[in-house]
Subunit: 283 residues, 2 copies
Amino acid sequence: MKETDIINYIKKFGIEDEDAAYIKNDEYLCFTTDTLVFSTDVPEEMDLKTVGRKSVLMNLSDLAAMGCKPLLFLCSLNLPRDFSDIKKVIDGIHSACKEYNMKYAGGDVNEGELSISGFAVGKSKRILRRNAAKEDDLVCITGDLGRVYCYFKEAKRDIFKEKVFNPVPRIKEGQILSSYANACIDISDGASKELNLISELSNVKIELETLPIHPSVIEISKEKAFDYALNSGEEFELIFTIPKKYKNVIEKVNATVVGRVKSGEGVFYKGKKIEKKGWEHLC
Amino acid sequence: MKETDIINYIKKFGIEDEDAAYIKNDEYLCFTTDTLVFSTDVPEEMDLKTVGRKSVLMNLSDLAAMGCKPLLFLCSLNLPRDFSDIKKVIDGIHSACKEYNMKYAGGDVNEGELSISGFAVGKSKRILRRNAAKEDDLVCITGDLGRVYCYFKEAKRDIFKEKVFNPVPRIKEGQILSSYANACIDISDGASKELNLISELSNVKIELETLPIHPSVIEISKEKAFDYALNSGEEFELIFTIPKKYKNVIEKVNATVVGRVKSGEGVFYKGKKIEKKGWEHLC
């Protein structure tokens, strides 16, 4: 069973985006979970402190996409019996929590294959969702794309490594966008998949015109650069849709306008349908 | 590194019980995580729906120990590539959430060794903690102890199996106790370990006088029954300390008075020190 099929099965129980939140007196508390599995998610040359940090950054990116200020982080550590370096992992978790002003509140320890399941809590006055894109919105992406894909497929250059080892969750940007944007999602599995998710959940068509491809990605991958950028996972940039009148907000969060929301369905680039390629677990 | 050492290392960052909570207008939101790892936590004869249910019940028991009403459940599912029966697990998760009136809000899916990391959110007007036992409190335990140990060590009888396959998290009891008890903990790793935790964290001595041993445990294990009950993990009963004047509350939650809180340190039974035996991960 593919990840998408599993998620669709879970959704049959009536689960929607807004369910992982609790509202109290005009303030939303939002909850998210994201797991880092060493065997599939961690490159060999990544040190354990960076691994710990990354387990936090992944969850922060989810909070950013909801427009949240981070509050609290818990995690379940699964460790093999002979694993001796857990202190480095914990130091990394603690350092990332401190950097983003989020309380590290402990969690659970188990014996098992090495993995870190993070759980983050954030708050917001207005939650950004994936199902709220509106016709005529501009589609925008923060930062740049493609370096993660190049690190794994092309070369271990420092400029690529930086984005894999120390991604920057767009926390500040998400908080700004929470007052203006309509839909938002972070790029975990690749822009092609995330754009299709916004399109499906919002019942709109997205016409893609460009992508913010990093120059070093163009240099190394040449004519494949657009495909690389489109399908590069764990970029942790935000894709958002926003009314045209907020062009100043788009500048404020250093985002690139990449397309437009239209009535209809599907994601298109120069008339061609963009399929959900990206990265899918359990394919 | 042992589980306790890991937890002590995490605590160096100043983490206390009350940190996994967020207070807003006199209401605490509490957060907890507990992971079920198939290779170590799941008996061979347990069906997958029960496995899904149990991953929820474990987390509910943590909420019960904090005196919380359950609100929301998220989980990270780690699955091997060839695992086809995930629907049964999800059905079990959904069924337990529904039974305890807790919203199942989805989560994350990954490739990896089979495990379910649950995250639960609950609320309470007053949180029960492990570090708040007071001198002269009565020490009490809900339900009965020892059946889980007997299931794994003695016999697969139905009376033992029931407690392993369908433990009852003491949600109602926890909510009642939240207005009266001082300290509270649920029995995950065995009463000997949990009693020692209350003693250490509250800086008190606990004098144990008895234990609520299930009759079938006495029948099968004879003179070892007390030891079995003391070290039986995943019982999911509550140990709490409460002022003597609340004897009616103890009756209301069907608990047994098992001892008294004194000044001093350690846990003692008939003058003999009770060590933290119980179940420890990664020993």
